[in-house]
C-alpha cells in the first residue's frame, strides 16, 4: 500500500496550543493525583509550575472511576519487611524489594489523608462489630491515624465505602493544583480530555525528557507541553487480548477498558528501560460480570470448588508441585489460577464460589438486623466497584445467599499496581538497596527527568489504589528535587510543531481522503478503522501470545509465528482512519496498545520458563527454572529500527 501522508489537503489543520510548565503530570488517576498533592507542598514554595493532563474527567478517570470497596494496601500494625515478603511471595519470588519496602514505609500516610478528606472507612468496635464509615463517624470512633481499628478483610486489606473514592482523591489533587496555579500566576494547569500521544526528548540529550504532545478530544486542537520533568501516570493496558465477551460485553473488562497501555508505549518509544513486561494479570472473577472475589474469600470466608465439591487447591497440589516445586505451597494468585484451570480443562467445571454456604454460615449466630446488614455488605462489594456483577445477578435471578456463582479466569491485562508487575525500570530509594537499583531520583526511569508510578512501575506489584497514590507522591517530591537540581539547565526539543500536528491528525486526513471511495465507509481497501484494528490485534495476541483461546498457552514457535502478524498489524496501524475526534482517540489508543502488546510478546519470548503458571504458560518450558531465570527480564526499544533489545537484570534479595 502507498504510504499515507498528511499535507492538510482533505482535513482541516487544528489549532496548536503551547503550554510551558516545570512538572508535567500525564494522567489523572490515583498515582498522578498523589503526585499533584505532594508536589504542591514542595514545588509551590519554590515557584515551580505543576500541570496535570488527563484524557478524561479527573473526578472519574482511571481504574477507580466506579469506586472501590477496599483499600488493598494498608500496613497498620504490619512491618514493611513483612509487606515485602508477601509481595515477593505472590509474585513468584521476584520483586524489586527496595521499591516494595520503600512503598511500605509511606503507604499508610496516603490512607490517613483519604480519611481526612472524607473517605468512609469501616471500623470495628470493641466487641468486634463492624460499622460502616458513616456510622463510625457518628459514634466518634477514632480515625486510623489516631489508632482507630479498621475492618480487615485480609492481612493487608481494609474495607471502605468507596463509591466516591476517586472523586474525593481528585478533589484534593485539584485543590493542590489550584494552590499551585494561583501561586505561580498561571492561567490553567489542569487539562482534561487531552490524550497524550508521545513524549518529546531534549534536542541536546536524547536521554532526557523535554515535553509531551497530545490532542483534545473535544476541540480541534493539538497541545504541546514543554516541561523540565514529567510523570507517566497513565495506568495499565486493557483490550490488548481478545475478550471472553463476544459483543456488547466486550467493554466489561475487569481492568478499566480506557487504560490503553500509554504508559508502556510512550516509555518504550522514549527509550526508557522496561522490566517484567512478560508478566500479566489474569484475575479469576465472577463469570461474565467480573465481580471481585477478594472480600468473598477473605471477609465472608467463601470457598470455591469444582463440580464434584473438591477444593481444587488441595486436590491438585501434589501434581502441581512436580513443575513448580516450593512455589506451590506459597499459593500465590497465579498458582491458585493454575490449579483451578487443571480442573476446568479436565471437565470438572463449573468452578463455583459458594457464597450461599458462606453467608448462611455467618448468619447462624446473627440477629435479623445483623443478617440484613451482612446482605448489604455483600452487595456493596459489587455496587461500589463492579456494578455489572450486580446486574448479572439480577438478570439471572441469583441471590448470593441462596445460590453459588461461577468463577472464570479473565482475558489477560498488563499492569504494575495490582497482582502483576509489568512496567518500567525505575530508580529506587537512595538510603538502601544495591547501587545498580539506584541512579539518582526515586522512581525516575532510565530517561532523565521522566518518572512513573502506580501501574507504570515494574517489578513491584501489590501497591493497589493506596500504594499507587503514595508512589505518585514519592514522584512529586523527587520531581521537585530534580527540578531544583537542574535549575540552570535549558531543555528544548527540536520537533516542528506542524509536523507533530500532521502526525497526530494523519488518521483524520486518511478518512477525509478515502472514505468516499466506497459506499460503506467501514469497508474500504485504503484503510482500516480503529475498532477493527483493535480486533485484529486482540486476535493475534489471543492466538499466538497465550490468550483465553489457547488456555493462556504459547511457546517459542507460536510467538515467532505471531511476530510476523504483529509486524503487519504495526504496518497497518499507519493506515488507520478516523472519522472524528472520538475515533482519533481510538486510533491513538491502538498505537499504544500495539506497542505494549509487542513488548509483552517479546518478553515472554525471552523468558524460557513458566514463571507465572495460571497467568501464562510456555509450552516448551513448562516448569519454573530458578537456576536460570530467577532474575528480571528487561528491555529497551529502538523506535527508529523497531528492534527490541531484551536482557536479564539481577534480582537481589534484600529482606530475608
Amino acid at each position: 500500500m502507498e504510504p499515507k501522508v498528511n499535507n492538510w489537503e482533505f482535513c482541516k489543520k487544528p489549532e496548536i496550543v503551547v503550554h510551558e510548565t516545570d512538572l508535567l503530570l500525564i494522567g489523572g488517576g490515583m498515582a498522578a493525583c498523589g503526585t499533584a498533592y505532594e508536589a504542591d507542598r514542595w514545588a509551590t514554595p519554590e515557584g515551580l509550575r505543576i500541570t496535570m493532563v488527563d484524557k478524561a474527567a479527573t473526578d472519574r478517570s482511571g481504574a477507580v472511576a466506579m469506586g472501590l470497596s477496599a483499600i488493598n494496601t494498608y500496613l497498620g500494625e504490619n512491618s514493611p519487611e513483612d509487606y515485602v515478603r508477601y509481595v515477593r511471595n505472590d509474585l513468584m519470588g521476584i520483586t524489586r524489594e527496595d521499591l516494595t519496602f520503600d512503598l511500605g514505609r509511606v503507604v499508610d500516610d496516603s490512607v490517613h489523608l483519604f480519611e481526612d478528606w472524607g473517605l468512609p472507612i469501616w471500623k470495628k468496635d470493641e466487641e468486634g462489630k463492624r460499622l460502616d464509615g458513616a456510622q463510625a463517624q457518628r459514634e466518634e470512633m477514632p480515625s486510623l491515624r489516631d489508632g482507630g481499628n479498621p475492618v480487615r478483610s485480609g492481612r493487608w486489606q481494609i474495607m471502605i465505602n468507596g463509591e466516591s473514592y476517586k472523586v474525593i482523591v481528585a478533589e484534593a489533587a485539584k485543590l493542590a493544583l489550584e494552590n499551585n496555579r494561583k501561586a505561580t500566576g498561571v492561567d490553567q494547569n489542569h487539562f482534561e480530555r487531552i490524550f497524550i500521544v508521545k513524549l518529546l526528548m531534549d534536542q541536546n540529550d536524547p536521554k532526557k525528557v523535554a515535553g509531551a504532545v497530545g490532542f483534545s478530544v473535544r476541540e480541534h486542537k493539538i497541545y504541546i507541553f514543554k516541561c523540565k520533568t514529567a510523570l507517566l501516570g497513565t495506568g495499565g493496558c486493557v483490550n490488548v487480548f481478545k475478550t471472553r465477551a463476544t459483543a456488547e460485553g466486550q467493554g466489561r473488562a475487569w481492568f478499566p477498558v480506557w487504560n490503553s497501555g500509554s504508559n508502556y508505549a510512550m516509555a518504550a518509544e522514549s527509550g526508557a528501560e522496561m522490566t517484567m513486561m512478560e508478566n500479566r494479570f489474569v484475575p479469576a472473577r465472577f463469570k461474565d460480570g467480573y465481580g471481585p472475589v477478594g472480600a468473598w474469600f477473605l471477609l465472608f470466608k467463601a470457598k470455591a470448588t469444582n463440580a464434584l465439591g473438591e477444593d481444587y487447591c488441595a486436590t491438585n497440589l501434589e501434581e502441581s508441585r512436580k513443575l513448580y516445586g516450593k512455589y506451590v505451597d506459597s499459593l500465590g494468585t497465579c498458582m491458585r489460577n493454575h490449579m483451578m484451570m487443571i480442573d476446568m480443562k479436565a471437565g470438572k467445571g463449573p468452578i463455583k464460589i459458594h457464597t450461599d454456604v458462606a453467608l448462611q454460615k455467618l448468619s447462624e449466630t446473627m440477629s435479623k438486623k445483623e443478617i440484613k446488614h451482612l446482605e448489604a455488605e455483600a452487595w456493596e462489594d459489587f455496587l461500589d466497584m463492579t456494578i455489572a456483577q450486580a446486574g448479572v445477578w439480577a438478570a439471572n435471578n441469583m441471590e448470593p445467599e441462596k445460590v453459588p456463582s461461577e468463577l472464570m479466569p479473565s482475558e489477560p491485562y498488563l499492569l504494575g499496581s495490582h497482582a502483576g508487575c509489568a512496567g518500567l525500570w525505575t530508580s529506587g530509594p537512595e538510603d538502601f538497596g544495591p547501587d545498580e537499583y539506584s541512579w539518582g531520583y526515586n522512581r525516575m526511569t532510565t530517561v532523565n527527568g521522566l518518572f512513573t508510578a502506580g501501574d507504570g512501575v515494574g517489578a513491584s506489584g501489590h501497591k493497589f489504589s493506596s500504594g499507587s497514590h503514595a508512589e505518585g507522591r514519592i514522584c512529586g517530591k523527587n520531581m521537585t528535587s530534580y527540578c531544583l537540581d537542574t535549575k540552570g539547565e535549558d531543555v528544548s526539543f527540536s520537533e516542528d510543531h506542524d509536523e507533530l500536528a500532521k502526525e497526530i491528525y494523519m488518521p483524520m486526513e486518511t478518512f477525509a481522503k478515502y472514505s468516499n471511495y466506497t459506499t460503506d465507509p467501514n469497508i474500504n481497501p485504503h484503510y482500516i478503522r480503529p475498532g477493527m484494528m483493535q480486533q485484529r490485534l486482540q486476535k493475534v495476541m489471543d492466538e499466538y501470545v497465550g490468550g483465553v483461546g489457547t488456555w493462556y498457552m504459547t511457546s517459542k514457535s507460536m510467538l515467532e509465528e505471531g511476530f510476523k502478524y504483529l509486524d503487519m498489524v504495526k504496518e497497518d496501524s499507519l493506515h488507520m482512519a478516523a472519522e472524528n475526534l472520538h475515533e482519533l482517540l481510538r486510533a491513538w489508543e491502538n498505537f499504544h496498545r500495539i506497542l505494549a502488546g509487542e513488548a509483552h510478546a517479546r518478553h515472554i519470548h525471552f523468558r524460557e520458563e513458566t514463571r507465572y503458571p495460571g497467568y501464562y504458560y510456555r509450552g516448551d518450558f513448562l516448569a519454573i527454572d530458578d537456576e536460570n531465570w530467577k532474575c528480571f527480564v528487561n528491555s529497551t526499544y529502538d523506535k527508529e529500527t523497531g528492534e527490541w533489545n531484551v536482557f536479564k537484570r539481577e534480582y537481589h534479595q534484600l529482606i530475608p
Binding site: 514505609r105 500516610d109 452487595w379 503514595a470
Partner: protein, 166 residues
C-alpha cells in the same frame, strides 16, 4: 450493560454549564447527536426553533465499562443501563441515586424481586475539604527534600519515615 438514554427525559443538559454525561464518561462514549426518527428516518426538529433536536447517545456501546458514572451524574435521570445482552438475560436492572453523603441502590431482578441498599459515600461535604488541615500550612522543610518520607509524614513525625530494612 451498555448505557442507554431515555429519549423523553434527556434535555441535552440545556441550561447547565456542561453536558454532564459527556463530561464525565471516562471512555468518551456519550455524545450529543441529532435525533433521527427510527421509523421515518427523518431528522427530528424542534418546531419552535426549527433546529434539529439534540440528545445524548452512547456512541460506542461495545466499549462501555458499565461504570454508571453517566447514570449517577445525569440531572434528568435519563440514563439507565441494560445488562450486556451477550451474556445477561433481559429484565434485570440496577438503579443508583447518588446524594450528597450517600447512595441509594435499587436492584430489580428479572423475576420482579426488588432489593434496596443505602451506603455512605463521604464523611466530609464535597467542596469543604481542607487539604492543609492537620498538617499545618507551613511550607515543606526543603532541607529534607533528599530525605526519605513524605511531607505529611515529616510534619506529623511519623516514625516510619526513614526506617531501613531490619
Amino acid at each position: 450493560m451498555p448505557s442507554y438514554v431515555i429519549t423523553e427525559k434527556c434535555d441535552s443538559c440545556a441550561g447547565q454549564d456542561k453536558t454532564a454525561c459527556m463530561y464525565i464518561c471516562p471512555h468518551d462514549l456519550m455524545a450529543l447527536k441529532e435525533q433521527v426518527d427510527p421509523i421515518t428516518k427523518k431528522v427530528i426538529v424542534n418546531p419552535e426553533t426549527n433546529n434539529p433536536v439534540m440528545k445524548a447517545v452512547n456512541q460506542e456501546p461495545v466499549q462501555c465499562w458499565e461504570c454508571y458514572s453517566c447514570v449517577k451524574i445525569c440531572p434528568q435521570q435519563a440514563i439507565s443501563i441494560r445488562c450486556y445482552a451477550d451474556f445477561a438475560p433481559l429484565g434485570g436492572e440496577v438503579i443508583p441515586m447518588l446524594g450528597s453523603d450517600s447512595i441509594m441502590w435499587t436492584v430489580k431482578f428479572r423475576n420482579g424481586n426488588i432489593k434496596r441498599f443505602k451506603f455512605p459515600v463521604r464523611t466530609v461535604e464535597a467542596g469543604s475539604v481542607d487539604i492543609f488541615a492537620g498538617v499545618g500550612e507551613a511550607k515543606a522543610d526543603i532541607s529534607r527534600i533528599k530525605a526519605p518520607g513524605l511531607y505529611t509524614q515529616h510534619a506529623n513525625g511519623d516514625p516510619r519515615t526513614a526506617i531501613t530494612p531490619a
